[in-house]
Protein backbone atom coordinates (compact mmCIF):
# COMPACT_ATOMS: atom_id res chain seq x y z
CA UNK A 1 0.00 0.00 0.00
CA UNK A 2 1.43 3.34 -1.03
CA UNK A 3 0.19 6.40 0.83
CA UNK A 4 1.27 9.00 -1.71
CA UNK A 5 0.84 7.31 -5.06
CA UNK A 6 0.24 9.00 -8.38
CA UNK A 7 -3.57 8.72 -8.06
CA UNK A 8 -3.55 10.98 -4.99
CA UNK A 9 -1.72 13.68 -6.93
CA UNK A 10 -3.94 13.18 -10.00
CA UNK A 11 -6.95 13.99 -7.82
CA UNK A 12 -5.28 17.11 -6.39
CA UNK A 13 -4.36 18.23 -9.93
CA UNK A 14 -7.93 17.49 -11.03
CA UNK A 15 -9.37 19.68 -8.28
CA UNK A 16 -7.01 22.48 -9.23
CA UNK A 17 -7.96 22.18 -12.92
CA UNK A 18 -11.63 22.26 -11.90
CA UNK A 19 -10.97 25.52 -10.02
CA UNK A 20 -9.28 26.92 -13.13
CA UNK A 21 -12.33 25.99 -15.22
CA UNK A 22 -14.63 27.49 -12.57
CA UNK A 23 -12.71 30.77 -12.49
CA UNK A 24 -12.98 31.08 -16.26
CA UNK A 25 -16.70 30.23 -16.25
CA UNK A 26 -17.32 33.00 -13.70
CA UNK A 27 -15.24 35.54 -15.60
CA UNK A 28 -17.69 37.58 -17.68
CA UNK A 29 -14.87 39.49 -19.38
CA UNK A 30 -13.19 36.33 -20.72
CA UNK A 31 -13.42 36.47 -24.52
CA UNK A 32 -13.54 32.69 -24.93
CA UNK A 33 -15.31 31.98 -21.68
CA UNK A 34 -17.32 28.82 -22.33
CA UNK A 35 -14.92 27.10 -24.71
CA UNK A 36 -12.00 27.59 -22.32
CA UNK A 37 -14.01 26.55 -19.27
CA UNK A 38 -15.14 23.39 -21.07
CA UNK A 39 -11.58 22.54 -22.16
CA UNK A 40 -10.11 22.80 -18.65
CA UNK A 41 -13.20 21.15 -17.16
CA UNK A 42 -12.81 18.11 -19.44
CA UNK A 43 -9.12 17.89 -18.60
CA UNK A 44 -10.04 18.07 -14.90
CA UNK A 45 -12.38 15.09 -15.34
CA UNK A 46 -9.64 12.99 -16.98
CA UNK A 47 -7.45 13.69 -13.95
CA UNK A 48 -10.16 13.15 -11.33
CA UNK A 49 -11.73 10.03 -12.80
CA UNK A 50 -9.40 8.90 -15.60
CA UNK A 51 -8.92 5.47 -14.10
CA UNK A 52 -12.61 4.70 -13.55
CA UNK A 53 -13.94 6.13 -16.82
CA UNK A 54 -14.05 3.76 -19.80
CA UNK A 55 -11.11 4.61 -22.11
CA UNK A 56 -13.44 5.15 -25.04
CA UNK A 57 -15.22 7.94 -23.13
CA UNK A 58 -11.88 9.61 -22.44
CA UNK A 59 -11.08 9.25 -26.16
CA UNK A 60 -14.21 11.15 -27.18
CA UNK A 61 -13.53 13.77 -24.50
CA UNK A 62 -10.09 14.24 -26.08
CA UNK A 63 -11.74 14.62 -29.46
CA UNK A 64 -13.89 17.42 -27.98
CA UNK A 65 -10.85 19.12 -26.43
CA UNK A 66 -8.91 18.94 -29.70
CA UNK A 67 -11.98 20.33 -31.49
CA UNK A 68 -12.20 23.27 -29.07
CA UNK A 69 -8.50 24.08 -29.54
CA UNK A 70 -8.50 23.61 -33.32
CA UNK A 71 -11.56 25.85 -33.85
CA UNK A 72 -10.01 28.48 -31.58
CA UNK A 73 -12.88 28.35 -29.10
CA UNK A 74 -10.49 28.28 -26.16
CA UNK A 75 -7.79 30.78 -25.40
CA UNK A 76 -6.26 33.25 -23.06
CA UNK A 77 -8.11 36.30 -21.79
CA UNK A 78 -4.88 38.14 -21.00
CA UNK A 79 -5.25 38.43 -17.23
CA UNK A 80 -2.37 40.60 -16.10
CA UNK A 81 -0.12 40.00 -13.13
CA UNK A 82 1.27 42.63 -10.80
CA UNK A 83 3.29 45.60 -12.05
CA UNK A 84 7.09 45.62 -12.18
CA UNK A 85 7.25 48.19 -9.34
CA UNK A 86 5.13 46.10 -7.00
CA UNK A 87 7.22 43.03 -7.72
CA UNK A 88 10.48 44.94 -7.19
CA UNK A 89 9.20 46.32 -3.87
CA UNK A 90 8.16 42.89 -2.69
CA UNK A 91 11.48 41.40 -3.81
CA UNK A 92 13.26 44.10 -1.77
CA UNK A 93 11.14 43.25 1.27
CA UNK A 94 11.51 39.48 1.13
CA UNK A 95 15.17 39.47 0.04
CA UNK A 96 16.51 35.96 -0.50
CA UNK A 97 13.73 34.32 1.49
CA UNK A 98 11.72 34.31 -1.73
CA UNK A 99 14.03 31.53 -2.97
CA UNK A 100 13.16 29.19 -0.11
CA UNK A 101 9.95 27.76 -1.64
CA UNK A 102 11.56 27.47 -5.08
CA UNK A 103 14.47 25.53 -3.62
CA UNK A 104 12.23 23.41 -1.41
CA UNK A 105 11.11 21.52 -4.54
CA UNK A 106 14.55 20.26 -5.65
CA UNK A 107 15.37 19.66 -1.97
CA UNK A 108 12.28 17.45 -1.68
CA UNK A 109 13.36 15.66 -4.85
CA UNK A 110 16.72 14.87 -3.27
CA UNK A 111 15.27 13.78 0.07
CA UNK A 112 12.44 11.94 -1.66
CA UNK A 113 14.76 9.96 -3.91
CA UNK A 114 17.34 9.12 -1.30
CA UNK A 115 15.21 8.78 1.84
CA UNK A 116 11.43 9.03 1.62
CA UNK A 117 11.20 6.38 -1.10
CA UNK A 118 12.67 3.88 1.38
CA UNK A 119 10.39 4.86 4.27
CA UNK A 120 7.83 2.22 5.19
CA UNK A 121 6.01 0.60 8.07
CA UNK A 122 5.40 -3.00 7.11
CA UNK A 123 3.60 -2.93 3.80
CA UNK A 124 2.72 0.77 4.08
CA UNK A 125 5.07 2.84 1.99
CA UNK A 126 5.09 6.64 2.07
CA UNK A 127 6.00 7.18 -1.59
CA UNK A 128 5.23 5.09 -4.64
CA UNK A 129 8.70 3.68 -5.33
CA UNK A 130 7.95 3.21 -9.05
CA UNK A 131 7.29 6.93 -9.50
CA UNK A 132 9.54 8.54 -6.91
CA UNK A 133 10.65 11.42 -9.12
CA UNK A 134 7.17 12.60 -10.05
CA UNK A 135 5.63 12.07 -6.61
CA UNK A 136 8.54 13.78 -4.83
CA UNK A 137 8.31 16.84 -7.09
CA UNK A 138 4.55 17.07 -6.51
CA UNK A 139 4.99 16.69 -2.76
CA UNK A 140 7.64 19.42 -2.87
CA UNK A 141 5.33 21.68 -4.86
CA UNK A 142 2.53 21.28 -2.30
CA UNK A 143 4.98 22.11 0.50
CA UNK A 144 6.30 25.06 -1.50
CA UNK A 145 2.81 26.54 -1.92
CA UNK A 146 2.35 26.38 1.86
CA UNK A 147 5.73 27.96 2.51
CA UNK A 148 5.14 30.66 -0.10
CA UNK A 149 1.78 31.57 1.44
CA UNK A 150 3.42 31.78 4.87
CA UNK A 151 6.27 33.97 3.63
CA UNK A 152 4.29 36.37 1.49
CA UNK A 153 1.07 36.48 3.48
CA UNK A 154 -0.86 35.89 0.27
CA UNK A 155 -4.40 34.56 0.46
CA UNK A 156 -5.03 30.90 -0.47
CA UNK A 157 -6.84 32.10 -3.59
CA UNK A 158 -3.60 33.57 -4.96
CA UNK A 159 -1.97 30.31 -6.06
CA UNK A 160 -5.17 29.34 -7.87
CA UNK A 161 -5.38 32.70 -9.64
CA UNK A 162 -1.69 32.85 -10.58
CA UNK A 163 -1.60 29.16 -11.51
CA UNK A 164 -4.68 29.65 -13.66
CA UNK A 165 -3.02 32.59 -15.39
CA UNK A 166 0.14 30.59 -16.18
CA UNK A 167 -1.91 27.54 -17.15
CA UNK A 168 -3.73 29.62 -19.73
CA UNK A 169 -0.41 31.00 -20.98
CA UNK A 170 0.62 27.45 -21.77
CA UNK A 171 -2.86 26.75 -23.14
CA UNK A 172 -3.71 23.65 -25.14
CA UNK A 173 -0.01 22.77 -25.50
CA UNK A 174 -0.28 21.39 -21.96
CA UNK A 175 -2.00 18.20 -23.18
CA UNK A 176 0.20 17.80 -26.26
CA UNK A 177 2.74 15.51 -24.55
CA UNK A 178 -0.04 13.13 -23.49
CA UNK A 179 -1.65 13.21 -26.92
CA UNK A 180 1.71 12.48 -28.58
CA UNK A 181 2.30 9.60 -26.19
CA UNK A 182 -1.09 8.25 -27.30
CA UNK A 183 -0.06 8.64 -30.94
CA UNK A 184 3.13 6.72 -30.18
CA UNK A 185 1.01 3.97 -28.66
CA UNK A 186 -1.20 3.80 -31.75
CA UNK A 187 1.88 3.71 -34.01
CA UNK A 188 3.17 0.78 -31.96
CA UNK A 189 -0.20 -1.05 -32.12
CA UNK A 190 -0.41 -0.53 -35.87
CA UNK A 191 3.14 -1.87 -36.36
CA UNK A 192 4.71 1.28 -37.82
CA UNK A 193 8.14 0.63 -36.28
CA UNK A 194 9.14 -2.62 -38.03
CA UNK A 195 8.24 -1.04 -41.40
CA UNK A 196 10.67 1.83 -40.77
CA UNK A 197 13.43 -0.46 -39.49
CA UNK A 198 13.07 -2.76 -42.49
CA UNK A 199 13.19 0.13 -44.93
CA UNK A 200 16.41 1.45 -43.40
CA UNK A 201 18.05 -1.99 -43.19
CA UNK A 202 17.31 -2.76 -46.85
CA UNK A 203 18.09 0.64 -48.34
CA UNK A 204 21.67 0.80 -47.03
CA UNK A 205 24.84 -1.20 -47.78
CA UNK A 206 25.01 -2.52 -44.23
CA UNK A 207 27.66 -5.12 -45.04
CA UNK A 208 30.16 -2.40 -44.06
CA UNK A 209 30.52 -2.14 -40.23
CA UNK A 210 30.66 1.67 -40.41
CA UNK A 211 27.43 1.86 -42.41
CA UNK A 212 25.73 -0.37 -39.86
CA UNK A 213 26.71 2.06 -37.10
CA UNK A 214 25.52 5.05 -39.12
CA UNK A 215 22.24 3.30 -39.93
CA UNK A 216 21.62 2.44 -36.27
CA UNK A 217 22.49 5.87 -34.81
CA UNK A 218 20.67 7.91 -37.43
CA UNK A 219 17.83 5.38 -37.39
CA UNK A 220 17.43 5.99 -33.64
CA UNK A 221 17.50 9.76 -34.16
CA UNK A 222 15.12 9.77 -37.14
CA UNK A 223 12.60 7.40 -35.60
CA UNK A 224 12.69 9.43 -32.38
CA UNK A 225 11.97 12.53 -34.48
CA UNK A 226 8.88 10.73 -35.85
CA UNK A 227 7.71 9.32 -32.50
CA UNK A 228 8.87 12.14 -30.23
CA UNK A 229 10.22 9.61 -27.75
CA UNK A 230 13.54 7.77 -27.75
CA UNK A 231 12.12 5.12 -25.42
CA UNK A 232 9.58 4.18 -28.10
CA UNK A 233 12.22 4.15 -30.83
CA UNK A 234 14.75 2.07 -28.89
CA UNK A 235 13.18 -1.41 -29.02
CA UNK A 236 12.10 -0.98 -32.65
CA UNK A 237 15.41 0.24 -34.07
CA UNK A 238 17.53 -1.98 -31.82
CA UNK A 239 15.67 -5.14 -32.84
CA UNK A 240 15.36 -4.02 -36.45
CA UNK A 241 18.83 -2.62 -37.15
CA UNK A 242 21.14 -2.72 -34.13
CA UNK A 243 21.11 -6.36 -33.01
CA UNK A 244 20.93 -8.06 -36.45
CA UNK A 245 23.55 -5.85 -38.10
CA UNK A 246 25.97 -4.54 -35.48
CA UNK A 247 25.91 -7.44 -33.01
CA UNK A 248 25.06 -10.52 -35.06
CA UNK A 249 26.57 -9.66 -38.46
CA UNK A 250 29.59 -7.64 -37.35
CA UNK A 251 30.06 -9.01 -33.78
CA UNK A 252 29.85 -5.66 -31.99
CA UNK A 253 29.47 -5.21 -28.22
CA UNK A 254 25.74 -4.98 -27.35
CA UNK A 255 26.25 -2.85 -24.22
CA UNK A 256 28.22 -0.15 -26.08
CA UNK A 257 25.79 -0.24 -28.99
CA UNK A 258 22.71 0.09 -26.80
CA UNK A 259 24.06 2.80 -24.46
CA UNK A 260 25.21 5.07 -27.29
CA UNK A 261 22.17 4.15 -29.40
CA UNK A 262 19.79 5.45 -26.75
CA UNK A 263 21.79 8.69 -26.51
CA UNK A 264 21.54 9.03 -30.31
CA UNK A 265 17.79 8.82 -29.87
CA UNK A 266 17.99 11.79 -27.47
CA UNK A 267 19.59 13.81 -30.31
CA UNK A 268 16.35 13.19 -32.19
CA UNK A 269 14.39 14.38 -29.13
CA UNK A 270 16.28 17.70 -29.29
CA UNK A 271 15.15 18.17 -32.90
CA UNK A 272 11.45 17.31 -32.93
CA UNK A 273 8.25 19.19 -32.16
CA UNK A 274 6.81 15.74 -31.39
CA UNK A 275 8.75 15.83 -28.09
CA UNK A 276 6.33 18.51 -26.97
CA UNK A 277 7.09 18.41 -23.25
CA UNK A 278 10.77 19.20 -23.91
CA UNK A 279 10.50 21.59 -26.86
CA UNK A 280 7.04 23.12 -27.31
CA UNK A 281 5.68 23.39 -23.75
CA UNK A 282 8.87 25.25 -22.65
CA UNK A 283 8.44 27.66 -25.58
CA UNK A 284 4.92 28.41 -24.28
CA UNK A 285 6.11 28.58 -20.66
CA UNK A 286 8.84 31.06 -21.57
CA UNK A 287 6.34 33.02 -23.71
CA UNK A 288 8.42 32.74 -26.87
CA UNK A 289 6.91 34.11 -30.09
CA UNK A 290 8.56 31.43 -32.21
CA UNK A 291 7.35 28.05 -30.95
CA UNK A 292 10.29 26.35 -32.63
CA UNK A 293 12.90 28.62 -31.03
CA UNK A 294 13.99 25.94 -28.55
CA UNK A 295 14.50 23.39 -31.34
CA UNK A 296 16.44 25.94 -33.40
CA UNK A 297 18.76 26.58 -30.44
CA UNK A 298 19.30 22.83 -30.11
CA UNK A 299 20.02 21.98 -33.77
CA UNK A 300 23.82 22.59 -33.66
CA UNK A 301 24.08 20.69 -30.36
CA UNK A 302 22.15 17.68 -31.66
CA UNK A 303 24.12 17.46 -34.90
CA UNK A 304 27.49 17.55 -33.13
CA UNK A 305 26.43 14.96 -30.53
CA UNK A 306 25.06 12.51 -33.11
CA UNK A 307 28.28 12.81 -35.14
CA UNK A 308 30.32 12.21 -32.00
CA UNK A 309 28.10 9.23 -31.13
CA UNK A 310 28.66 7.63 -34.54
CA UNK A 311 32.42 8.03 -34.18
CA UNK A 312 32.53 6.84 -30.56
CA UNK A 313 30.41 3.82 -31.41
CA UNK A 314 32.38 2.96 -34.54
CA UNK A 315 35.74 3.12 -32.77
CA UNK A 316 34.58 1.25 -29.65
CA UNK A 317 31.76 -1.15 -30.46
CA UNK A 318 33.87 -3.55 -32.56
CA UNK A 319 36.89 -3.30 -30.29
CA UNK A 320 35.77 -3.92 -26.69
Amino acid sequence: MKLLNLEVFYVIAGIFLLLVAGRIALDRTHAKRWGSALFWGLLAVTFLAGKSLPPVAVGYMMLAMVGLAATKRMGFAGETGTSAEERAASAELLQNRIFAPALLIPATAVVGTLLLSKLHVGDWWLLDSANTTVTAVCLGAVGAVGLALGLTGARPATPVREGSRLMQTVGWALILPQLLAALGGIFAQAGVGPVVAELAAHALPTQYPFVAVVAYCTGMALFTICMGNAFAAFPVITLGIGLPLIVQQHHGNPAIMAAIGMLSGYCGTLLTPMAANFNLVPAMLLELKDKNAVIKAQVPIALVIITANILIMYFCVYRF
Binding site: P101, Q189, P254
Partner: protein
Protein backbone atom coordinates in the same frame (compact mmCIF):
# COMPACT_ATOMS: atom_id res chain seq x y z
CA UNK B 1 4.34 1.18 -46.37
CA UNK B 2 0.79 2.52 -46.10
CA UNK B 3 1.14 2.26 -42.32
CA UNK B 4 3.54 5.22 -42.48
CA UNK B 5 0.64 7.52 -43.37
CA UNK B 6 0.63 8.89 -39.82
CA UNK B 7 4.21 10.09 -40.13
CA UNK B 8 3.31 11.77 -43.42
CA UNK B 9 0.29 13.48 -41.81
CA UNK B 10 2.49 14.77 -38.99
CA UNK B 11 5.18 16.04 -41.37
CA UNK B 12 2.72 17.80 -43.68
CA UNK B 13 0.60 19.10 -40.80
CA UNK B 14 3.57 20.60 -38.99
CA UNK B 15 4.93 22.08 -42.22
CA UNK B 16 1.60 23.76 -43.02
CA UNK B 17 1.28 24.94 -39.41
CA UNK B 18 -2.12 23.46 -38.67
CA UNK B 19 -3.11 23.25 -35.01
CA UNK B 20 -0.69 20.72 -33.52
CA UNK B 21 -3.33 18.89 -31.47
CA UNK B 22 -5.44 18.43 -34.58
CA UNK B 23 -2.47 17.15 -36.61
CA UNK B 24 -1.61 14.57 -33.95
CA UNK B 25 -5.20 13.38 -33.60
CA UNK B 26 -5.66 13.06 -37.38
CA UNK B 27 -2.34 11.20 -37.65
CA UNK B 28 -3.48 8.73 -35.01
CA UNK B 29 -6.92 8.24 -36.55
CA UNK B 30 -5.56 7.71 -40.08
CA UNK B 31 -2.88 5.26 -38.88
CA UNK B 32 -5.49 3.33 -36.92
CA UNK B 33 -7.95 3.18 -39.83
CA UNK B 34 -5.20 2.01 -42.21
CA UNK B 35 -4.25 -0.72 -39.74
CA UNK B 36 -7.87 -1.93 -39.77
CA UNK B 37 -9.15 -0.53 -36.48
CA UNK B 38 -12.62 0.97 -36.15
CA UNK B 39 -13.05 4.63 -35.17
CA UNK B 40 -14.41 3.50 -31.82
CA UNK B 41 -11.33 1.34 -31.18
CA UNK B 42 -9.03 4.22 -32.07
CA UNK B 43 -10.81 6.51 -29.58
CA UNK B 44 -10.47 3.76 -26.99
CA UNK B 45 -6.69 3.57 -27.59
CA UNK B 46 -6.36 7.37 -27.46
CA UNK B 47 -8.23 7.41 -24.16
CA UNK B 48 -6.23 4.54 -22.68
CA UNK B 49 -2.82 6.04 -23.48
CA UNK B 50 -3.94 9.57 -22.53
CA UNK B 51 -4.89 8.37 -19.05
CA UNK B 52 -1.74 6.24 -18.71
CA UNK B 53 0.47 9.21 -19.53
CA UNK B 54 -1.12 11.78 -17.23
CA UNK B 55 2.11 11.83 -15.22
CA UNK B 56 3.72 13.80 -18.08
CA UNK B 57 1.43 16.75 -17.38
CA UNK B 58 1.27 16.31 -13.62
CA UNK B 59 4.49 18.08 -12.63
CA UNK B 60 3.72 21.13 -14.80
CA UNK B 61 0.25 21.41 -13.25
CA UNK B 62 1.78 21.23 -9.75
CA UNK B 63 4.59 23.70 -10.48
CA UNK B 64 2.53 26.50 -12.01
CA UNK B 65 0.67 27.69 -8.86
CA UNK B 66 3.92 27.89 -6.84
CA UNK B 67 5.79 29.59 -9.64
CA UNK B 68 2.88 31.98 -10.18
CA UNK B 69 2.77 33.07 -6.53
CA UNK B 70 6.55 33.45 -6.28
CA UNK B 71 6.72 35.45 -9.51
CA UNK B 72 3.98 37.72 -8.21
CA UNK B 73 6.06 38.44 -5.15
CA UNK B 74 9.26 39.19 -7.08
CA UNK B 75 11.13 35.90 -7.56
CA UNK B 76 12.43 36.88 -10.99
CA UNK B 77 13.43 40.34 -9.78
CA UNK B 78 15.32 38.82 -6.85
CA UNK B 79 17.07 36.31 -9.15
CA UNK B 80 18.14 39.23 -11.34
CA UNK B 81 19.40 41.18 -8.32
CA UNK B 82 21.49 38.20 -7.27
CA UNK B 83 23.13 37.98 -10.68
CA UNK B 84 23.90 41.71 -10.73
CA UNK B 85 26.10 41.19 -7.69
CA UNK B 86 28.17 38.48 -9.38
CA UNK B 87 30.55 40.53 -11.48
CA UNK B 88 31.76 37.71 -13.72
CA UNK B 89 28.26 36.57 -14.65
CA UNK B 90 27.34 36.33 -18.31
CA UNK B 91 24.25 34.74 -19.84
CA UNK B 92 26.37 31.91 -21.19
CA UNK B 93 28.08 31.23 -17.87
CA UNK B 94 24.74 31.06 -16.05
CA UNK B 95 23.61 28.39 -18.51
CA UNK B 96 26.90 26.45 -18.30
CA UNK B 97 26.68 26.40 -14.52
CA UNK B 98 23.06 25.23 -14.60
CA UNK B 99 23.76 22.45 -17.09
CA UNK B 100 26.71 21.22 -15.05
CA UNK B 101 24.60 21.03 -11.88
CA UNK B 102 21.76 19.37 -13.78
CA UNK B 103 23.97 16.75 -15.45
CA UNK B 104 25.82 15.83 -12.29
CA UNK B 105 22.74 15.66 -10.07
CA UNK B 106 20.73 13.55 -12.49
CA UNK B 107 23.73 11.26 -12.96
CA UNK B 108 23.27 10.43 -9.28
CA UNK B 109 19.59 9.79 -9.85
CA UNK B 110 18.27 13.08 -8.47
CA UNK B 111 15.97 14.90 -10.86
CA UNK B 112 16.00 18.56 -9.87
CA UNK B 113 15.05 21.23 -12.33
CA UNK B 114 12.57 21.25 -15.15
CA UNK B 115 11.24 23.93 -17.45
CA UNK B 116 8.41 25.02 -15.15
CA UNK B 117 10.24 24.70 -11.84
CA UNK B 118 13.70 26.05 -12.62
CA UNK B 119 14.05 27.52 -16.11
CA UNK B 120 11.13 29.94 -16.13
CA UNK B 121 11.39 31.29 -12.57
CA UNK B 122 15.18 31.18 -12.04
CA UNK B 123 17.51 30.24 -14.88
CA UNK B 124 16.02 32.39 -17.66
CA UNK B 125 15.71 35.58 -15.51
CA UNK B 126 19.26 35.10 -14.24
CA UNK B 127 20.62 34.67 -17.76
CA UNK B 128 18.64 37.71 -18.94
CA UNK B 129 19.93 39.81 -16.03
CA UNK B 130 23.49 38.72 -16.76
CA UNK B 131 23.03 39.71 -20.39
CA UNK B 132 21.73 43.15 -19.36
CA UNK B 133 24.79 43.52 -17.18
CA UNK B 134 27.11 42.53 -20.03
CA UNK B 135 25.52 45.01 -22.40
CA UNK B 136 25.46 47.83 -19.86
CA UNK B 137 29.10 47.23 -18.95
CA UNK B 138 30.12 47.29 -22.59
CA UNK B 139 28.36 50.61 -23.08
CA UNK B 140 29.41 52.41 -19.91
CA UNK B 141 31.81 50.41 -17.71
CA UNK B 142 31.56 52.71 -14.67
CA UNK B 143 27.79 52.74 -14.25
CA UNK B 144 27.25 49.22 -15.55
CA UNK B 145 25.28 47.73 -12.67
CA UNK B 146 23.11 50.82 -12.17
CA UNK B 147 22.18 51.00 -15.82
CA UNK B 148 21.51 47.31 -16.03
CA UNK B 149 18.68 47.72 -13.53
CA UNK B 150 16.71 50.01 -15.79
CA UNK B 151 17.88 48.69 -19.13
CA UNK B 152 15.68 46.51 -21.28
CA UNK B 153 16.88 43.86 -23.67
CA UNK B 154 15.59 43.85 -27.24
CA UNK B 155 12.83 41.27 -27.64
CA UNK B 156 14.87 39.20 -30.10
CA UNK B 157 17.69 38.93 -27.60
CA UNK B 158 15.30 37.85 -24.84
CA UNK B 159 13.88 35.13 -27.09
CA UNK B 160 17.38 33.90 -27.94
CA UNK B 161 18.48 33.73 -24.31
CA UNK B 162 15.30 31.96 -23.20
CA UNK B 163 15.53 29.41 -26.01
CA UNK B 164 19.10 28.66 -24.98
CA UNK B 165 18.03 28.34 -21.34
CA UNK B 166 15.48 25.69 -22.36
CA UNK B 167 18.18 23.96 -24.42
CA UNK B 168 20.52 23.96 -21.40
CA UNK B 169 17.82 22.22 -19.35
CA UNK B 170 17.23 19.57 -22.03
CA UNK B 171 20.91 18.85 -22.62
CA UNK B 172 21.61 18.61 -18.89
CA UNK B 173 18.59 16.38 -18.38
CA UNK B 174 19.12 13.99 -21.31
CA UNK B 175 22.85 13.46 -21.33
CA UNK B 176 23.55 13.06 -17.63
CA UNK B 177 20.87 10.51 -16.94
CA UNK B 178 22.53 7.42 -18.39
CA UNK B 179 25.72 7.71 -16.40
CA UNK B 180 26.75 6.53 -12.92
CA UNK B 181 23.40 5.40 -11.52
CA UNK B 182 21.01 3.16 -13.38
CA UNK B 183 17.69 4.90 -13.87
CA UNK B 184 14.77 4.55 -16.27
CA UNK B 185 16.57 4.50 -19.61
CA UNK B 186 19.30 2.10 -18.52
CA UNK B 187 16.74 -0.34 -17.14
CA UNK B 188 14.77 -0.15 -20.38
CA UNK B 189 17.93 -0.90 -22.38
CA UNK B 190 18.78 -3.84 -20.17
CA UNK B 191 15.25 -5.21 -20.33
CA UNK B 192 15.05 -4.95 -24.13
CA UNK B 193 18.39 -6.73 -24.64
CA UNK B 194 17.57 -9.36 -22.03
CA UNK B 195 14.35 -10.24 -23.86
CA UNK B 196 16.51 -11.00 -26.92
CA UNK B 197 18.92 -13.16 -24.93
CA UNK B 198 21.75 -10.66 -24.45
CA UNK B 199 22.90 -10.16 -20.85
CA UNK B 200 24.51 -6.76 -20.32
CA UNK B 201 25.60 -5.26 -17.02
CA UNK B 202 24.11 -2.01 -15.72
CA UNK B 203 27.59 -0.68 -15.02
CA UNK B 204 28.73 -1.30 -18.60
CA UNK B 205 25.72 0.61 -19.93
CA UNK B 206 26.33 3.51 -17.54
CA UNK B 207 30.06 3.61 -18.31
CA UNK B 208 29.47 3.88 -22.06
CA UNK B 209 27.14 6.82 -21.55
CA UNK B 210 29.96 8.94 -20.14
CA UNK B 211 31.82 9.87 -23.39
CA UNK B 212 28.61 11.23 -24.93
CA UNK B 213 27.76 13.06 -21.69
CA UNK B 214 31.11 14.86 -21.90
CA UNK B 215 30.60 15.70 -25.58
CA UNK B 216 27.13 17.05 -24.78
CA UNK B 217 28.49 19.27 -22.03
CA UNK B 218 31.24 20.54 -24.33
CA UNK B 219 28.58 21.35 -26.95
CA UNK B 220 26.56 23.31 -24.43
CA UNK B 221 29.69 25.26 -23.41
CA UNK B 222 30.35 26.00 -27.09
CA UNK B 223 26.76 27.26 -27.67
CA UNK B 224 26.81 29.28 -24.44
CA UNK B 225 30.06 30.98 -25.41
CA UNK B 226 28.66 31.64 -28.89
CA UNK B 227 25.63 33.24 -27.22
CA UNK B 228 27.89 35.48 -25.13
CA UNK B 229 29.88 36.52 -28.20
CA UNK B 230 26.67 37.33 -30.04
CA UNK B 231 25.45 39.44 -27.12
CA UNK B 232 28.80 41.26 -27.07
CA UNK B 233 28.53 41.96 -30.80
CA UNK B 234 24.99 43.26 -30.44
CA UNK B 235 25.90 45.51 -27.53
CA UNK B 236 28.84 46.89 -29.52
CA UNK B 237 26.43 47.76 -32.31
CA UNK B 238 23.87 49.29 -29.97
CA UNK B 239 25.41 52.74 -29.23
CA UNK B 240 25.41 53.54 -32.94
CA UNK B 241 21.65 53.00 -33.06
CA UNK B 242 21.19 55.23 -30.04
CA UNK B 243 23.36 57.95 -31.58
CA UNK B 244 20.36 60.01 -32.65
CA UNK B 245 19.09 60.60 -29.15
Amino acid sequence: MIKLIGILVVAVGFALRFNTLLVVMVAGISTGLVAGMSFHEIMELFGKYFVENRYMTLTVVFMLPVVGVLERYGLRERAEALVRRARAATAGRVLIFYTAVRQISIAFGVNIGGHAGMVRPLVAPMAEAAAKLQIAKAALPAEGAARAKQGKLPEKTIELIRAHAAAAENVGNFFGEDTVFAVGAVLLIQGTLQAQGFEVGLWALSLWGIPTALVAFACLVWRACALDRRLARESAAEPKQEGGR
